[in-house]
């Protein structure tokens, strides 16, 4: 794009910014409190959805096409079948056989086994995203339903967390745009707890201080998730399965044509550093996030860094659960050993947007570290940039004869469930888990170390807190482990330095020697006078 056009657009954007359509305070043209359909009373979530669909006729069918609904995603790059129902991870490993627990984060109702009918329109949960009252919460083992009567989790446990019966009518009459809290209800607590999975997303982002997230903070830009992940017909852009590693299009200017703007460049362009032009020389090779997210898990919560399943089923000193000083479990008899960390410096890798997953039937090397996902890209690859990652490591079960990742049946009361009637019997749990995915379990299991790479892209710090030049342009800096390219300040040519300094030493020796001889003769002449 010619410079002048870019400049004009930039100026236009700056002028337009105060009244931008993406500001969160946009007023609705409808007051849902006045709708006949929403008077209620409602006995269940699906009844509310039926009411919503009377006006929003296309909403359910739109959602049916999304990964939010199907939990299935075909990578446009690799063709791999991904999504929560297909991938194997190193947290709770897999969704199959554990549906009611996992689907408490599904945008639907009733996905409690593999037979769930994904074509039901009223099974879509409108409220979990559009609630503005903060009272609508999915019950953790409710297959996506909220609590319709007061109950605790775990169930029948007086010490458990209380889930009060939700007033569906009130929630339905108060619906509005999604917010940081509604998206966060699932995305901040993925993996079963606050901040467990992503590291760059936890409940601190519901009301973040400016230093934590300059865009989402009410003291900053006040963005919601949808400001960047701007949906079109309920389809939310910005997929972690197929990210844009390098956006060369730059500014996403307002136009009649829908454009997703989940990349930084959508708003900031590809040369965003007017005051420090040298930084613009980096944007082709370094992702914005690499400098602008100095650490993740900065909001006061720890993220899980290590999960060793091999110690599950054992107590430590007779204790089922051992916690650290901050209350984070280090060992849980049901789950094994954990490590947690806050304020984590990311690990950095070249990344071109292509991600390959190690799926269920892929042969793995039981001696090595299994990469749950791996990616391509290098310093000479025009589409790749250096990206920050959280690397989730741990040990997880495999079928030791077939050398494939194994998926355990964890949740439930039946006699195969690892946490239920199976009483921590790996063989039962793995046989049942694998059977559900159509795989015969060989009968012998082992544990393998694994690594799962999570691109870090949230918790963007104010510019004054960005990673400085010196943190990478130095020996043993943040990018010390990346090779294959010459980086000033980090790299030098060893033989040249040796040769160079030897020449300097030689020159110094020569002039010093010459000077000493002069001094010697000067003294000699003086004495001999």
């Amino acid at each position: 794009m010619p410079y002048r056009v870019t400049l004009a657009l930039l100026v236009g954007l700056i002028l337009a910014a105060p009244g931008a359509a993406w500001a969160s305070g946009t007023k609705s043209t409808a007051d849902h409190g006045k709708f006949e359909q929403l008077k209620g009373p409602f006995k269940s979530g699906p009844e509310v959805t039926a009411a919503c669909l009377e006006c929003h006729t296309e909403a359910a069918s739109q959602l049916h096409k999304t990964t939010h609904w199907s939990w299935a995603f075909i990578s446009p790059i690799t063709g791999e079948e991904l999504g929560k129902r297909n991938v194997v991870n190193n947290f709770c490993v897999a969704t199959a056989t554990n549906w009611p627990r996992c689907t408490s984060c599904h945008i639907g109702y009733g996905w409690d086994d593999d037979s769930f009918d994904l074509s039901q329109e009223t099974a879509v949960d409108c409220l979990v995203c559009h609630d503005t009252t903060g009272t609508y919460k999915k019950y953790p083992a409710g297959a996506g339903h909220p609590a319709y009567v007061d109950k605790t989790f775990p169930p029948n446990n007086p010490n458990g967390e209380m889930f009060e019966a939700v007033d569906l009518g009130k929630v339905a009459r108060s619906v509005g745009r999604t917010g940081r809290d509604t998206c966060g209800a699932c995305h901040f607590t993925g993996g079963g707890g606050n901040g467990v999975k992503h590291g760059d997303m936890d409940t601190s982002l519901i009301d973040p201080p400016r230093a934590l997230d300059v865009h989402m903070s009410p003291d900053g830009e006040g963005f919601t998730c949808a400001t960047c992940h701007n949906p079109d017909g309920h389809d939310v852009p910005g997929s972690r399965y197929a990210p844009t590693a390098r956006d060369t299009a730059g500014f996403d200017t307002p136009s009649a044509v829908y454009k997703s703007h989940a990349t930084c460049e959508s708003c900031h362009g590809t040369e965003a550093h007017a005051a420090h032009p040298k930084l613009n020389d980096h944007t082709d090779k370094v992702a914005c996030q690499t400098c602008h997210i100095p650490e993740y898990a900065r909001g006061g919560f720890k993220t899980k860094m290590w999960w060793d399943w091999s110690t599950a089923g054992t107590k430590v000193d007779g204790q089922k659960v051992v916690k650290d000083a901050d209350g984070y479990p280090l060992h849980d008899v049901k789950k094994g050993d954990f490590r947690w960390q806050a304020n984590v410096v990311p690990e950095y890798f070249w990344f071109d947007g292509r991600i390959d997953y190690t799926l269920l039937n892929e042969t793995i090397d039981p001696q090595g570290v299994v990469e749950i996902n791996s990616f391509s890209g290098g310093p000479h690859d025009p589409t790749a940039r250096i990206w920050p990652f959280k690397v989730m490591r741990g040990r997880q079960p495999i079928d030791a004869e077939k050398n494939i990742l194994a998926v355990p049946h964890l949740f439930g009361q039946d006699e195969d469930a690892f946490w239920g009637g199976g009483k921590f019997d790996w063989n039962k749990a793995l046989r049942a888990g694998l059977r559900e995915r159509g795989v015969d379990y060989s009968g012998s299991h082992a544990f393998v170390e694994s690594a799962y790479y999570w691109p870090i892209t949230h918790m963007v710090a104010p510019k004054e807190d960005a990673v400085g030049c010196n943190e990478c342009h130095t020996t043993d800096g943040r990018l010390a482990s990346l090779s294959g390219f010459y980086m000033p300040g980090r790299d030098s040519i060893d033989w040249l330095s040796k040769l160079g300094w030897a020449s300097v030493a030689l020159a110094l020796a020569a002039v010093t020697g010459h000077a000493l001889i002069r001094v010697f003769f000067a003294l000699f002449h003086k004495v001999s006078q």
């Binding site: 020996t475 010459y486 002039v511 002449h525």
Partner: protein, 199 residues
């Protein structure tokens, strides 16, 4: 004793500004190269770029001045008295009351050894350092000039090598200042512009 104006005001301004800039460029350059830490990479690189532009600007003036004034002829290499000068620095200098075989005058300012050294400096070290340095600075634009397959390490290496040559030149040059008799003779000439004839 006679006093001749050997180095004009512009010449002295140019020489000492160039000296200061080059010393600072060497300092910041070797920091960028990772030899030590003083300013920190960011500041060192910034200062190095800024100083480089100043030096380039100064050089444009200096080249202009040398051509207009014809002073460039001072640098034409010659073998005249070369043997005598070499002999002086290796042997005669140590002798009592020895005299430099070359007499500095406003018309012939540099001895044959200086002419060779300064020509090497002007025609080899400086151009190599400029070209490699500017390429280094505009690394992002290499694809536009067909250099996308050239490794940065090559250009950085050439620039570093020229930097080492500059440092070696500087060491010897600074030492040579103090080979006059009396000791401060050459330094004084370069500061005041006048060469005190002691002969």
């Amino acid at each position: 004793m006679t006093r001749d104006m050997v180095f004009s005001r512009f010449e002295r301004f140019w020489h000492w500004s160039q000296a200061a800039l080059i010393i600072h460029l060497i300092m910041t350059g070797f920091e960028v190269n990772g030899a030590y830490e003083f300013y920190g990479y960011e500041r060192a690189a910034e200062l190095h770029r800024f100083n480089a532009w100043l030096l380039l600007g100064l050089s444009v003036f200096a080249i202009f001045w040398h051509f207009i004034s014809g002073e460039w002829k001072q640098y034409i290499p010659t073998t005249d008295k070369m043997r005598a000068v070499l002999r002086y620095y290796t042997l005669d200098i140590f002798k009592k009351d020895s005299v430099h075989p070359f007499k500095m005058t406003p018309l012939v300012k540099h001895n044959p050894l200086q002419r060779i050294a300064y020509s090497a400096f002007n025609l080899m070290i400086l151009p190599i350092i400029w070209v490699s340095g500017l390429l280094y600075m505009y690394y992002n634009d290499w694809p536009d000039i067909g250099m996308e397959n050239v490794p940065l390490a090559l250009v950085a290496g050439i620039h570093t090598a020229a930097g080492f040559a500059m440092l070696v030149f500087l060491i010897v040059h600074v030492y040579m200042i103090f080979t006059g008799k009396p000791l401060m003779r050459y330094l004084k000439a370069m500061i005041t512009g006048y060469e005190d004839s002691h002969d």
